[in-house]
Amino acid sequence: MGFMTIDGQRVEFTNEPNVLTVIRNAEIDIPTLCYHSELSIYGACRLCTVEDDRGKTFASCAEPPRDGMVIYTNTPRLMRYRRTILELLLAAHDRDCTTCVKSGECHLLELAHRMGVDRIRFKNREAKYPIDESSPAIVRNPNKCILCGDCVRMCDNVQSVNAIDFAYRGTSTLVTPAFNKTIAQTNCVNCGQCRVVCPTGAISIKTNIDEVWDALADPNTIVVAQVAPAVRVALGDKFGIPKGENVMGKLVNALHRLGFHEVYDTTYGADLTVIEEAEELLERISSGAKGPLFTSCCPAWVKFCETRYPELADNISTCRSPQQMFGAVIREYYRNPEINQGKKLVSVSIMPCTAKKEEILRPESMTNGRQDVDYVLTTTEVASMIRKSGIRFENIDGESTDMPFGIGSGGGVIFGVTGGVTEAVLRRLQTGHSRVEMDRIRTSGVRGDDGLKELTFDYMGKEIRAAVVNGLGNADKLIKRIQSGEVSYDFVEVMACRRGCIMGGGQPVGAGPRTRKARAKGLYDTDVNMQIKKSNENPMVLALYEGLLKGKTHQLLHRNLGSTEN
């Protein structure tokens, strides 16, 4: 608590962690490349350097605020420093900016423009590192890496995975897996959070855009899409639409225009998941099985658990994720010759997530050994396809999703935000569906931003204990507490990304606190406006159980554990 003077302005501060935050709160956008409020402070880029009244310079990110400080943020000396720093970074950077995937949203390029870097006095280092395309989710191009360490700290501090880290020293320093392994050879869980914080094109999404264009152009295919809940509240970011606005209608229209024959809603798949998972939970509880039931919707979490805690693999729900349940149902539905018209089905899912690209390849999620979903496109990739097509997304009208899989429940929609799966399962277990009962669930502690939420609820006179955790680092801590016997639960929802799928690795980047909030609100508002709140009251889902799924629920909706065949 105190006052400081920033560029002649008197500014009050309270409990800000560093001078940088005080400066930004005073509406001065001081440049940074290595500072993220949720990661540990690294102080490497030095762009946030400021000067005090005695001419001392220091990095404002690593300096605690003190009462009476007098700070200058834009002296000629500081501007010269910043320019030189950027010139040096650019000299060590592969500057094929015109063809770079990050073009248009590169933070390094933006700062170079802002700081007026119009020439570079240093010789460019020659590109020499191979590009790692081994992962189904991300591509790593070390030639564009500026060693800010954001990805390293994200992977380690927040996700506790630590697949990549700095190696070697001096000019040879590199962000890499140990022993120069490829990403695919590491314990990387494909969450894509490294790509979200990467300021340049050093880590990008492994794209499947070309394959999808080819399928759309092929007259012998039927191309269908399923769209995950979290996509609809983030895609608008790319087209100047207010943050968090639900653009599902426009997206359906745009996808039809791009040539998708049918567009379905993954919310439908989520409803299937709720029904199956609630069933499994009740069976588990009545059979007195040991340990909690972990959700299986998040493939990054599933891989994390399998590699880090193989002893808990049996506690992960046998349910497929919504994408995979729905993928299997779509594939089965199109086997009917009347429906496929003798054409080949290409099933595309549109996801906020890079790990979903790996999930479709997992043998235990295949049906009869065949991949159900052919391609996963992230929100970012769909935005670039729409742009390429020239469709004026912001101006087009909304359309509704196609039948018979176009109807979802509110419970399914909120899957995209942390706590959503649990809330949907609670709704399923609740017998009534009055507003009062829905409100009781809503305020049970299941909603909100926290990394760990705990709640208990009553089911037929029995108390069920649940935990909702997001961010793999938080999950890791929780598991340690569960294993030590300190806490115990019946049901644990885990989402690998902080705040859930709305902040997934395939979403448009640059989402700060306001955008995060708006995306969560976007999904909750969508739920409010849906007539059907409970997954088990979705009439189309119930019809499916009576029809296509009869005798096949296990084959189509659950993972084939213990065997890679069937």
């Binding site: 380690d156 630590n162 697949a163 990549i164 880290d165 700095f166 190696a167 070697y168 020293r169 897996p177 140990a178 022993f179 120069n180 392994k181 590491t186 314990n187």
Partner: protein
Amino acid sequence: MKPTMLDQSYYETANEIISRYPLEEKSLIPIIQDIQATYRYLPPDLLDYVAKKIGITETKAYSVASFYENFSFEQKGKYVLKICDGTACHVRKSTPVLQYLRQELGLSETKQTTDDLMFTVEVVSCLGACGLAPAMMVNEQVHPKMTPEKAAELLKELRAKEEEGRNDDQN
């Protein structure tokens, strides 16, 4: 990338070394120093093994081990020849000594160890023996005021010593 599977004895040795230190992050460097002292290099599989034992990731251990020039993931020769190329040694002609040794042993900047794992030739920045420039070390022994001729003599001695050792073994 990784060499063939290590013999079980390597893990037993590693266990013995690990047992000298508390199982925590900061024991990494002393443990891998001891391993390197035993084997004259740090077998990559042992790095992963040590990391798991002390509760850190392999990536983090590699980050530390690759930072220090002193750790080597490749096997080194029985005799490690360190030629100093600090300022004093350089101006007093360390380069011809280095060139001679590399040529004689068929080594280069990228290939530092002979195939028979007998000799490793490394360039170091300063041995702290500038008064003896140009200086060179053979394992722990410092050799002052080197010339290519003296280096030739030294190699001859080392090879003779090896030959003798082999004959002793046979007899």
